[in-house]
């Protein structure tokens, strides 16, 4: 819970006040925290691409949105990211559980893991890669950066960082 709490605290410190998620077991603690938090909006959504659209609307309505998802969700969302969030220069934070990184027990997750950073790089999305607890301190500044540059940004949280967050 300590890691998840620190991530949410830093996102909130960075101004994020609207959260969506497509669930992942590594995000479960964060979802629990957000469901009890009366200061911010939280909802699950069935699919990441749709979440990008809801985040775009939330930004138009003056919220600072974050969508939490597995890295696989980036694959589901490429067109929405490019032809909506980037075209209209909308700041949105992607909080990504980085499945398929070392510690991952499910071999099939390795495929998307191998290309996740390449996709984000191709999309010119600024990345913050969190592999240790110390990295989490950077989340608030990095989130504010999304607003400054009017762009989606991606925070990648490694499997091993999240897995023991009891």
């Amino acid at each position: 819970m300590k890691i998840s709490k620190k991530i949410i605290d830093n996102l909130k410190k960075g101004g994020v006040d609207f959260y969506l998620s497509v669930p992942c077991k590594l995000l479960a603690n964060m979802i629990d925290i957000l469901e009890k938090d009366k200061d911010v909006y939280y909802s699950a959504v069935p699919r990441e691409e749709e979440g990008m659209g809801i985040c775009a609307g939330a930004y138009l309505g003056n919220k600072f949105p974050c969508i939490m998802m597995q890295n696989t969700g980036i694959g589901n969302s490429v067109n929405a990211i490019v032809s909506l969030l980037q075209l209209y220069q909308m700041p949105v934070v992607f909080l990504i559980s980085y499945r398929g990184t070392p510690g991952e027990p499910v071999g099939a997750q390795g495929g998307m893991a191998k290309i996740t950073e390449d996709i984000l790089q191709t999309l010119r999305i600024p990345m913050l890669h969190c592999s240790s607890e110390n990295d989490l301190e950077k989340i608030s500044t990095f989130s504010k950066h999304a607003k400054v540059v009017e762009s989606p940004v991606a925070i990648l949280c490694d499997f091993n960082l999240m897995k023991d967050d009891k």
């Binding site: 609207f18 909802s43 809801i54 309505g61």
Partner: protein, 189 residues
Amino acid sequence: MNRFDLLNKIQNILKDNLVICNIGLPSQELYKINDQPNFFYMLGSMGLSSSIGLGLSLSQNKHVISIDGDGSVLMNMNTLATIGNRAPSNYTLLIIDNGSYGSTGDQRTFTDENTSLKDVAIGAGCKNVVECSGDETVNELSKAIEDQNNSYVIISKINSGNVKIDPIPLNPITIRDRFRKFIGIVKYL
């Protein structure tokens, strides 16, 4: 009645509300009929008009009308479930259902065969799902906006067919900023 006729009929209702308009011909036709700063024209991301409008209605209090099409809703049907569970009362989804992919050359969609978006929306949990003719749409849309306690999904069944029209000349940041200025967020314009 085709989409251009319908948009003409409802333009007076639209001009007082926040409107998210679907990519392609719907946006181009609306722009030609009566461009307004409170119209957000989609220039990409087909399928997401309903979702963008939902996020907007959850974030501020003005009434939001998402203008979507049958082809676009078929592309993003999962969002009907999100609407069915999360839509606030300042949200109306208007699906202009002409059974056709109008912007790409009028190929038939599945709503012209076996699929009923009304049944899908009800099954997805949406409340106040109304299927009506183009002529009835003005009345149904007015009722939806006046009702401050409920969200609506209106499926307007019209004919396919388009008018000859140019692309929207506005750049995306102009569309974004004048829209946010109308809401009261952007101060520098």
